[in-house]
């Protein structure tokens, strides 16, 4: 094969251009990896600012408020019942205590 000088120079030039393309491809590859690392970091960090935690807390708090209200209602009902029962039996209890205090065994 015989090539003249001009053709040889063109070949060298083409070889250089190819090397430059490869160098750019390596740069692009580095950029792809850098972007992937950044995205990976942001995925992990996003957990801290995840609004789901606050939603979960709020939901549980609301549930607790409901359950507390139910307990309050239950005890209010029991308190009212107790008051009514005690009111009804008040005189009987006094009469019993007076009678037993004054009961003499001879």
């Amino acid at each position: 094969m015989s090539v003249d000088l001009k053709e040889l120079q063109e070949l060298i030039e083409q070889e250089r251009a190819a090397e430059e393309k490869v160098r750019r491809a390596k740069e692009e590859a580095q950029n792809i990896l850098k972007a992937a690392h950044e995205k990976a970091e942001s995925i992990v960090q996003a957990i801290d600012s995840d609004p789901d935690w606050e939603k979960l807390r709020r939901a549980r708090k609301e549930e607790m408020t409901t359950r507390k209200s139910q307990i309050e209602e239950e005890y209010s009902r029991r308190t009212a019942l107790l008051e009514r029962t005690a009111q009804q039996n008040f005189e009987n209890a006094i009469a019993y205590l007076v009678k037993e205090t004054l009961r003499v065994q001879i």
Binding site: M1, E10, I32, L33, A36, K39, D50, Y75, A86, L97
Partner: protein, 210 residues
């Protein structure tokens, strides 16, 4: 190889290397992202678990405190009602003594006889407040006769005044002071409240204290 072939080969090799580099980088990027996603998922699960454990512990404590407060309120309420019963009963007993009617005079006699029955001997001292002493003196003869029947023997009663005693009722003592029987209404009431608190509780609330 011709010059054209050489040029084509240079271009082909360059493209091949470029593709390899880019494909490799893309695969590595995918691996990094998949790893991050998995790590994030694991962290999220762990945090959710921790948060749930914390919230449940807080909730359990909170609910326990709420129930405890309410139970405390109910117990206080019951205790107040019992106290009212005791106070009112004490007032009524005190009123019966103050009125000093026939019913109370008979009660005084019975309190004396109960004391005599519980003590040994046949000579006794009966002490009461100045108001009741008068009533007892009026019944003394009848009392001695009733006491004699209980003891199956002659009984001698002496009456004395207890100073600073407001409560009705009596203290019966053997004459030599070796034994005495406290039948003052205050003492009986104190004993009754100790002994009968459970029963009063049952009558008031229709349930046992425990």
């Amino acid at each position: 190889m011709s010059l054209l072939e050489l040029r084509t080969e240079i271009e082909r090799k360059a493209q091949e290397e470029i593709s390899k580099i880019i494909e490799s980088a893309k695969r590595e990027a995918e691996r990094i992202l998949a790893e991050a996603t998995a790590k994030s998922e694991a962290l999220r699960n762990e945090r959710t678990k921790t948060l749930m454990t914390e919230l449940e512990a807080e909730e359990r404590a909170d609910m326990a405190i709420t129930r405890m407060n309410w139970k405390g309120n109910l117990l206080r309420l019951k205790s107040e009602w019992c106290k009212r019963v005791f106070e009112e009963a004490e007032k009524r007993i005190s009123q019966i003594a103050k009125n000093g009617g026939q019913e109370y005079r008979e009660l005084l006699s019975k309190l004396i006889l109960e004391g005599i029955q519980a003590l040994s001997g046949k000579r006794f001292v009966v002490e009461a407040n100045s108001r009741d002493v008068e009533a007892i003196r009026k019944e003394l003869k009848a009392l001695q006769e009733r006491a004699a029947k209980i003891k199956n023997d002659e009984v001698v009663l002496r009456v004395g005044t207890l100073s600073n005693i407001v409560s009705g009722g009596v203290v019966v003592s053997v004459e030599d002071g070796a034994q005495s029987y406290n039948n003052l209404l205050d003492a009986r009431f104190s004993a009754a409240t100790r002994k009968l608190a459970g029963e009063v509780y049952k009558i008031l609330f229709g349930e046992s204290k425990d």
